[in-house]
């Protein structure tokens, strides 16, 4: 939101609702710096400017948000087709949980006789040599 007088197209209703009928707008809010935007809820408003005003009052008046996004619900493309999102066949092999590496790694190490590498912080310091030659 800015304190500039908004351009006419936002007020005469040609681009942001007809200015007479209420429609739903979805409000996303950021709770604190660094957080992702999360859906907060919705407001009814006749146009974008009033939608932003109402979003500010419903989702920001108690200082619970540091930023808001207000999107006309009609502008959201939705997908809720179960065939596309919840197909009937087993898909567990697509989940990261399907690959448990720990046991496979342990078996491979045992076979090759290698010990498990120590954590980085436990490694001894490199021997010091003439400047700039240590890694060559």
């Amino acid at each position: 939101m800015t304190d500039q007088t908004p351009p006419d197209r936002d007020l005469d209703g040609t681009s942001d609702g007809d200015g007479r009928t209420l429609e739903p707008w979805e409000v996303f809010r950021r709770e604190k710096d660094g957080d992702p935007m999360r859906h907060g809820g919705s407001v009814m408003a006749p146009d974008a400017l009033l939608a932003v005003h109402y979003a500010r009052e419903l989702y920001g008046r108690r200082q619970e948000s540091v930023a808001l996004w207000v999107v006309r619900r009609a502008d959201i493309h939705d997908l809720a087709d179960p065939d596309l999102l919840q197909p009937p066949l087993d898909r567990s092999f697509k989940k990261p949980g399907g690959y448990v590496m720990r046991d496979k790694l342990a078996a491979a190490r045992q076979q090759s006789g290698q010990a498990k590498p120590k954590a980085r912080s436990g490694q001894p310091k490199r021997p010091t040599g003439p400047a700039g030659t240590a890694d060559r």
């Binding site: 939101m1 304190d3 007088t5 007020l11 005469d12 200015g19 209420l22 407001v43 009814m44 408003a45 400017l49 009033l50 005003h53 109402y54 500010r56 009052e57 419903l58 008046r61």
Partner: protein, 264 residues
């Protein structure tokens, strides 16, 4: 005024203190009265969202009033409290502008009053942004950051009503015409205000602030073809309160008067 001066008033030219007291009281009463008037929309505004928005604006104004009354109580010292100043006076002793004395009215009246008051208040706050009285300057800085949104909200609605021919525009113009004679009463000169200007407590006289206010709102009024309020009669602009205010006073003091002296 007591003979022993409060700690806070020690930094102020003693002669200017009474005028400063009057200035802070008039600002606090303005915010208090418009806050209560607008809170009458709670539960009956045009739509739920606007109901919450208007109620929230009304709470903001009461918050500003509280901060100003608290500053005034500290300035006066001698055991004064913000609540006592806010509630324990007779209607004739309130010093809000007559602009705020027209009753709640319809939605167009509320928007017209809010726009005229918020813009006038903005001009007055601008005049205090560099006040030599630090506690007031610091408070004004915080209030201005909230009032910016109030002006945006009022402007948004004023434009919508003005641009829709028929009932919305007709009602808006009727309200502006009813308020016109009192529109400038926010700038009613204070007794001895020259002293406030001399000591840097306020940047300019009320008359100069009124001129700034008119310059600020003229482009929008011209653009929307709305009647600019003519120069008004500011005589008694903060002292003559009519029947609508007596009714409002009865409402907002009713709980406090029901048990005088109670600790809430």
């Amino acid at each position: 005024m007591t003979t022993t001066r409060s700690a806070l008033s020690a930094s102020i030219d003693p002669a200017a203190e009474a005028v400063l007291d009057e200035l802070i009281l008039s600002m606090a009463d303005d915010e208090f009265v418009i806050g209560f008037s607008d809170s009458e929309w709670t539960g009956i505004a045009p739509i739920l969202e606007e109901d919450i928005a208007m109620s929230s604006l009304a709470q903001d104004e009461l918050g500003h009033a509280r901060a100003l009354y608290e500053l005034l109580a500290e300035l006066r010292g001698a055991g004064q409290t913000a609540d006592a100043i806010a509630y324990d006076r007779e209607p004739a002793d309130y010093r809000h502008a007559r602009l705020l004395d027209h009753g709640r009215g319809d939605w167009a009246m509320t928007i017209a009053r809010r726009y005229l008051y918020d813009t006038a208040d903005g001009s007055r706050l601008e005049g205090l942004a560099k006040s030599s009285f630090a506690p007031l300057r610091e408070l004004v800085d915080k209030i201005r950051r909230e009032e910016r949104y109030h002006v945006m909200h009022a402007t948004t609605w004023l434009e919508r009503l003005a641009r829709h021919p028929g009932e919305p525009r007709d009602r808006l113009i009727a309200s502006l015409e009813e308020l016109a004679p009192d529109a400038a009463t926010v700038f009613t000169p204070l007794d001895g205000e020259a002293l406030l200007v001399e000591t840097g407590l306020i940047a300019e006289s009320m008359a100069a602030l009124e001129a700034r206010w008119r310059a600020t709102i003229t482009p929008l009024f011209v653009g929307l073809d709305l009647p600019m309020p003519p120069p008004g009669d500011l005589d008694g602009g903060r002292t003559t309160h009519g029947e609508p205010f007596r009714w409002l006073w009865g409402e907002f003091t009713s709980v406090r008067r029901s048990d005088p002296g109670a600790i809430w």
